[in-house]
Amino acid sequence: MKITYPHMGNACIAIEAMLQKLKLEVIPPPPISKKTLEIGVKHCPEFACMPLKITMGNFIEALDRGADTILMAGGWGPCRFGYYAQVERDILSDLGYSFEMVILEAPDSRVSELFRQLQALGQNVSIWEAFKALKFAWHKLQVVEELEKKISYVHPRALDKRKAENIYDQALREIKETQDKEEIDQLGISCLASLDQLALRAEEPLRIGLVGEIYTVLEPMANFRIICCLGRLSVEVDNSIYISDWLNDHLLGGLVKKSHRRELVKCAGPYLNYFVGGHGLETVGSTVSYAHQNYDGVIQLGPLTCMPEIVAQSVLKRVSSEEGIPCMTLYFDEHAGAAGIQTRLEAFTDMLRRKKLAKAAMY
């Protein structure tokens, strides 16, 4: 069995680690490129959103490299994503590929169901080994996310931004290749140390919270590397969603760590009281929470035609005026309007900066 999976930001680092510990031969899809999207666009319904098109491109590129099994996440609720694994299976079969598709669903009641799903996937592994595989992958993810948080602090402040980017990219590449827990910890520590040595500017950067649909927020190729662009504009970005949060809430049933989803739902309360699918409710809740934390602004991301984010966007208008936090929404599609995105980001950060100055001048 040669297994593959879809890309989503740095998730591949953890997914690959887990699959290898389940004694599977992994054929990762090549990194997302223009070609990936081109293939996806060609074979997907036009009105579907970007995540379907990109993951479809991932699968085709991996199947062409010899993969014969696809691991995909399922889902539920009004967001179309839950249906994508089924649609992709049909489209790929119609294209003449022969393969097996394994869909990981959130366990209804007991987490042991998930271990059983993983055990069934692995080659002659015990439940204990399945548990250990998951634990190792989780550990790797923790190290990666610690680096993600560190770079989002250092990048906007660093005088030599390119050097910061290089240290971080290099560390991620090395962690991805390493299968030993101690070595991974060591790599994490040394990356944090090198980032700490960079010269930083004294002036405090603007702080912007990033909210929206998870795939678009986490996958840099789906959002024109917005976190990096903002870092280069000297803006500190706080990600409202991390992969570990999503896995914890959706696949592990809140087992591993305390979910802060309940808190976000509470924040959203005065504005939105209904699960609108996808991350719509979290988008509203996170925006309110950022306002409470005195962030300078919020940027909402979503794939074009994303229903949950459209609902959230219309609610954000009220949140923005009542909580006094500027919000901007960006939708992404296959069009390559990098210049348009850049202009909007520059204009938004410029606006926040001038507002901050005007406010400071008032006191």
């Binding site: 490129s33 390119r162 074009l304 219309s314 210049a339 202009t343 520059e346 204009a347 410029d350």
Partner: protein, 326 residues
């Protein structure tokens, strides 16, 4: 005399403005970019020199518009700014009380909301360019009329025809349908103006509180039909600034003046001979450094490489030293 130069390189027009120390406009130039921004920048600067008939003492330069980085490379800018900030600065210089700016250019349209002369909210058109200058140009040429006659003809209308404005393609087919039904031209044109205003308010102005005083600027403000349509639908008088078509350039010239004053530095301006005499070339190649396969653009003057851009990792861009933008 010393001046500050503001340059706005848009998709359709390239605008040049000279302001003096007191921020008074001394010269303005509105050219068509015609798909060749490098030529437009050179041409514009040359015409400016010819018009002034004097040695220009340039104290500072600002560039804006989608071609702002290119203009920076060729002219040497002190300030490179996005269009939103540039337009807001210019509008609040002429009208300190302004609350809403409607700006419609060649390819995009914006709404800017200000509070105490600071931008508090803005939006730009997203995926559709209906209602922008290039769409109006296209419709005028389809009707075999000059774009300059569009407004005056529309004003003759007594009863505007209802045209679907949700999308440029639908608007065009609806217009053709009304034309074949025999409606008079002026009523169709006025109907189109109203459709575009509705489209603008629903898409760009969606959910924004539009409060007076309202300024209408950008190349499309020349179209009197649109001004009337805005006033009719918003039920408020709309002001059009005297330099409505070059407001972005004025704004960025003001920003350049502020920057030079604040930093007490010399301009990065490259000088007449650098701009006029040399041959500028651009080429592009696919970087094979990683699977992103970025299309990198290279700008050269004679044999000298001036700039690279288009690479996501900035490997090429930063190879020549980096300049901060914002």
């Amino acid at each position: 005399m010393s001046y500050y130069l503001g340059v706005d390189i848009g998709s359709v027009s390239s605008n040049f403005v000279l302001i003096d120390e007191k921020q008074q406009v001394q010269e303005k130039l509105y050219l068509r970019t015609e798909g060749n921004p490098v030529r437009a920048i050179k041409q514009g600067y040359k015409e400016l020199l010819e018009k002034r008939q004097e040695e220009l003492d340039i104290k500072g330069i600002g560039t804006t518009g989608s071609g702002r980085h290119l203009a920076d490379i060729i002219l040497g800018a002190d300030v490179v700014k996005n269009e939103i900030t540039a337009h807001a600065v210019a509008a609040s210089w002429f009208y300190p009380e302004v609350r809403t700016i409607i700006e419609i250019g060649g390819q995009d349209s914006k709404i800017i909301i200000l509070q105490d002369a600071v931008v508090s909210d803005f939006a730009m058109n997203t995926v559709c360019a209906a209602g922008t200058g290039s769409f109006l140009d296209q419709q005028a040429s389809r009707l075999n009329m000059s774009i300059y006659d569009f407004g005056p003809t529309a004003l003759k209308s007594k009863q505007a025809v209802r045209i679907a404005g949700r999308c440029g393609v639908f608007a065009e087919s609806d217009m053709i349908h009304k034309q074949q039904m025999g409606y008079p031209l002026e009523d169709i044109l006025m109907g189109l103006c109203e459709a575009l205003v509705r489209n603008y308010l629903n898409n760009v102005g969606k959910g924004k509180k539009i409060e007076a005083p309202i300024i209408f600027q950008g190349g499309v403000a020349a179209n009197a039909g649109l001004k009337i349509a805005f006033e009719k639908i918003l039920q408020t008088p709309i002001m059009i600034p005297p330099y409505y078509d070059v407001m972005g350039a004025i704004g960025v010239a003001i920003l350049a003046r502020e920057y030079i004053e604040e930093h007490r530095c010399n301009t990065a301006f490259k000088g007449d001979s650098f701009i006029i005499e040399g041959q500028f070339n651009s080429s592009s190649f696919e970087c094979k450094g990683c699977p992103n396969l970025c299309e990198v653009v290279c700008i050269k003057r004679e044999q000298e490489i001036l700039a690279y851009w288009g690479d996501r990792c900035q490997k090429w861009e930063s190879s020549l030293g980096h300049k901060e933008v914002g």
